[in-house]
Symmetry: C2
Subunit: 531 residues, 2 copies
Amino acid sequence: MEKVWNSWGDEAKQRPLPEVAKTVLTSLLGPGNPLGEATLEQTASQLPPSRLGSHDLYCVEPGVRARYARGQSLADWLAFKQGKLGCAPDAVAFPESRDQLEALLNLAREHNWVVIPYGGGTSVAGHINPREGERPVITLSMERMNRLLHLDPISQLARFEAGVRGPDLEAQLNARGYTLGHFPQSFEYSTLGGWIASRSSGQQSLRYGRIEQLFAGGLVHTPRGEISLPALPASAAGPDWREVILGSEGRIGIISEAEMRVQPLPQKEQFYVSFFPGWQQGLEAVRAIAQAGIPASMMRLSHPTETNTQLQLALSQEKHRRLVKLFRLLGVGDSPAMLTWGVTGDRGQVRHSTRAIRRLLHSHDGRLALKGLGQHWKQNRYGAPYLRQSLWEHGYLVDTFETAANWDRIEALQQQMELSLKAVAGDTPLLSYTHLSHVYKQGCSLYTTYLFPAKEGFDASLAQWRKFKDAASRAVVEGGGTISHQHGVGEDHRPYLSVEKDALTRSGIQAVLEHYDPQGQMNPGKLLETP
Amino acid sequence: MEKVWNSWGDEAKQRPLPEVAKTVLTSLLGPGNPLGEATLEQTASQLPPSRLGSHDLYCVEPGVRARYARGQSLADWLAFKQGKLGCAPDAVAFPESRDQLEALLNLAREHNWVVIPYGGGTSVAGHINPREGERPVITLSMERMNRLLHLDPISQLARFEAGVRGPDLEAQLNARGYTLGHFPQSFEYSTLGGWIASRSSGQQSLRYGRIEQLFAGGLVHTPRGEISLPALPASAAGPDWREVILGSEGRIGIISEAEMRVQPLPQKEQFYVSFFPGWQQGLEAVRAIAQAGIPASMMRLSHPTETNTQLQLALSQEKHRRLVKLFRLLGVGDSPAMLTWGVTGDRGQVRHSTRAIRRLLHSHDGRLALKGLGQHWKQNRYGAPYLRQSLWEHGYLVDTFETAANWDRIEALQQQMELSLKAVAGDTPLLSYTHLSHVYKQGCSLYTTYLFPAKEGFDASLAQWRKFKDAASRAVVEGGGTISHQHGVGEDHRPYLSVEKDALTRSGIQAVLEHYDPQGQMNPGKLLETP
């Protein structure tokens, strides 16, 4: 797949905005304001010259440096689109083996370069963006280290090189009858090492667990040497150091290999869509299923605003009209909350779970269980990020943010999150909507999408985004949520981390970072400010 | 309950060795060698005088210092019984509030005392034993901080003071319709804080999770101040610092409060006992159930040696004879592997799981599902440690050790573990047997019990134990197991930790310990050697 250099995903998968969407957007947000788009050549030509000479092990070509300069946050996107990267790595390397990785890290240590580990470049929190500074910066892209090294079918462990992307990882496992089951929305481009370093969570985490539950052990190359974490089923032998590597965001070292808990491909998998008369009934139902421990493989509950927006975009007008009519007949009404849910397992488990879930949904006024819409969700499960390009072309910007909180906070938090955006929108038209997913017995995640017309030019658009991002982040942490359930901290969430991680927790993490990276070379400023 | 000062458990619960056990033991191990037993007064009188003056906040009375000087390892037991404690804390404190705890820690910091956090004193790895040294030692027993502070039924979280013991914790929850579900064998005496600090696992971890999954957040008092860990359902915001507190064994600070994930009391719970013709069939069946994700609440598979020993001890001769006859009829034979298993949940879940488990057991040649023996297991689930006293009175010593490993290692590891004991037994008669429990998709734990007649006196008995302990610990780590699945590291497992935690992992943990405890006051020498 040829990835578009300044946008999400593969060239061939880009899709135009449906006519109905244009109508909806214009009515809600007014006309868009298409901004210009710089070419790769224009963008690359504006980069400061590399401070590193040419070398067999890395590349200093401006076009490559530009491509690897940013991730996929809206700020990154604007910078790519407008050719305003500001700074870029001085070199990009593509190690093909642990030896090459070590050689690169030795060079960096010797010359005191900054090292940025790069997985799939899908970060939406500024994880892989170089900062201005006196030291040369080298970005290490792990994409060529992507092999399955070992599969143990007895203990259900698979050891991979950590640069492997989602589809390659699953293809290698599927060919042997296994799956990891980690399907974040970024699945097509993000990598195993990136998932671990940023504590990723997949859409079916309810069945397969978060990356924390899947990562059994592996190798981390730090400036002080290699940490080897054994893959044990469980241990009481002191602090769990995997849990320090998980979420370390490149600050400790680079993950070169990871041993993952895999399982046989399921016999059967099915997705359904059901509807509730309102958000509250849906919340109660989802919590009841999670707390009863009924093994759904995913649940995603859309707030009525998201429900109506998504149904309008997914269905023809005729089908939509018929569904609305059906809603009235069934007592679902005009503000339906849509629940997408899945069951996965062997035939008996799927049958038993489906029955148990439907019973519980019904007792909470949930109606219907549509396979067609479930199938639609499945087919489009990685599609949302492509919308950004289609919207961009029509002059609209879109961003998302997410959190997780305890059940007792969810209802208020969802409101606070959306209100926080409105409070700083000023005269900028705004559309926002929210869903919950990744349910736990204790709580769930919330995920909010918001759209607004681009402002006049790069600076004004970026400034408006910063207002939204700051307001939303404050609302999240003040409302009792984590600053990130699945995107990590990076640069963008760091200012809000202190609510969740107090001064003594942060100083403890800092002590670990300084221990492994005494020169402060590894991805400085991400996660915690470098002192 | 009045705990016996130099033995396991409550005075009233001590139970004599059944006649049949005496016969079995004499035939297998020869006659026992009862050693004398010192009184508390004799033991206390041999302690060096306290180096601390009397104080409102702590007690320097020798009898109290003696009681709190040791845990429950076999070495501790011998020291208690023979009145040879060697050293003891200079004072024992019983803080009743966070303020008193802080005041005590401030005193300790000011005067550079060593601080030993004490939960229930049930450690079998030397966690709470003071070491000889120049600094005075104060043991902080958390037993008076035992209240339920808050219960949130929506998010299913309960906040407790961390000194609460198992039965008090469950009683406070049960009264409100909830349970934590953490039932280690030490349940009656061990505390919430101790479970967290040593990464405990309960007998029904298959349903409720290990303490790692139950501990959502809390407060840790370190020499640098208080760490507050928020109780979030999940987070991608950097390393998970709970996982550093978990297993920190008092080296970072004292856990004063913990917010725990609780759940409503189950509608139904049932335990069964089934039998396989051999260990291998049992292993295959247990692995199949675990990897299929069938929700059993516990599985414990006894090796044929353990099976036969336990049946002889549990049943009358008549009942045992009938069971053996039944085994022949059913094709189970003379070397049965006994599986104790449980199902817990609502009625529908229990019915569905029971059916699924029985089907799988049967397809692996598993026979019977006896409720009576299941009930017997339930009634005696915390009883095994009491046996040590009964055996002691007849001149036999008993110890256990445990590990966890991946499924591909289990069969070889079980053999190596038992052979390692035989290799150092010399002319000491030895009986050993093993079960597996705490099953995971990736592997399981192994738990070996061994008995031998006491040697001539304290020193010879201790020396023989050290040989067994060292040989077993080596066999465990060389065979690919963790040095502890549920008992922790403490003093006794520290020499074997390096196989699992490499030099760079240990130095990283050391950096954390030094950060929070710059004077090295907190439980020095446990987990890692203090530099």
